[in-house]
Amino acid sequence: MKVRFPESADEAVADVADGSTVLVGGFGPAGMPYALIDALIRQGATDLTIVNNNAGNADTGLAALLAEGRVRKVICSFPRQHDSWVFDGLYREGRIELELVPQGNLAERMRAAGAGIGAFFCPTGVGTPLAEGKETREIDGRTYVLEYPIHGDVALIGAHRADRAGNLVYRKTARNFGPVMATAADLVVAEVREVVEIGAIDPEVVVTPGIFVDRVVVS
């Protein structure tokens, strides 16, 4: 359905429900949808599952959402950072659940959700604690672990520029998880630096076609 351009980040996340799985773009600050996360903090949804590469830094953004006790579970590859004290504290107190996922699996499992793949055999993690209890299979002499899709109710992503058809382009390594998350959630909200008219983005260079994007806000 046609992309919408809400007046504000608050309006864009107004209907995120308690208990939602929220895919949050960004790898460190690059591609992080700060305005949407701040709006989600104001919005109040709780009991959330957050999917991001990390688990929040310092006291702002995702860390602030965690600090408010609104996140039940984090699915990520790398929670531990020099400034991840909010997550660290909640985790040590047993107040937050962690599903630790190798970074490539995080990306590929979201891709699978977006591509209609029910599960896939993957070589990452074989023989390691992160594959414990998972189905394995030998195919053509190599061992693989069966991994399942990660689907979001909502994706909040950062992009560089959108056109009025919702087509997105990113900038440099800020692209990271955005294009994959945009395919993997029911409701996709993109925060961009500018919106341009239809025709102003060359069809050859569109990274996320508008079909994947529901709402765009400028921040």
Binding site: R111, A115, G116, R164, T183, P203, P209, G210
Partner: protein, 211 residues
Amino acid sequence: MSGSARTVDEIAAAVAADIPEGSFVNLGIGQPTKVAEHLTADSGVVLHTENGMLGMGPLAAKGHEDWDLTNAGKQAVTELPGAAYFHHADSFAMMRGGHLDVCVLGAFQVSVTGDLANWHTGAPDAIPAVGGAMDLAIGAKQVFVMMTLFAKDGSPKLVTECTYPLTGLACVTRLYTDLATFDLGPRGAHLVETFGTTPAELAERLGLDLV
């Protein structure tokens, strides 16, 4: 009931009228491509072609073909503002991941519960060819089929169970034919409207209970 059986163009117009504004739509090769002629510009409908494009425009004018820009039927087409290109795996991921709102296909047979047979007659000497039919059948949120309701030999093409090799199970949601439109689903075929015939006549010719 309307007065007479629908032409292919009338069927295509009926399909087009039922496509919600702003939908992303794939039109199968053959008769379904006619649906495009009945979509108005202000419908905001965006056409997908599985060979890697959203925002496909009409066929290219004669003499202005660009053979780098073709549709799934390998005809030269055009590009609309707001289009996007992508590769085949991304294109089918888009389709199979359930991101298209509607696809419109032709069929040899459709079952009352929405099974589709449209890729192979099952004739022993036929060379099979499937293309993207099986991917489209399971991918789009809604699958519309347009076809004549009876084959040239008079046998019904809406059946209790398909006898031709299947394309997909329980995938067709709406069936548009010359004589009637049906909603299909787990509970069977629901007759929406008839053209040039009555529900009672139709049920008898089809040999089906219509719910």
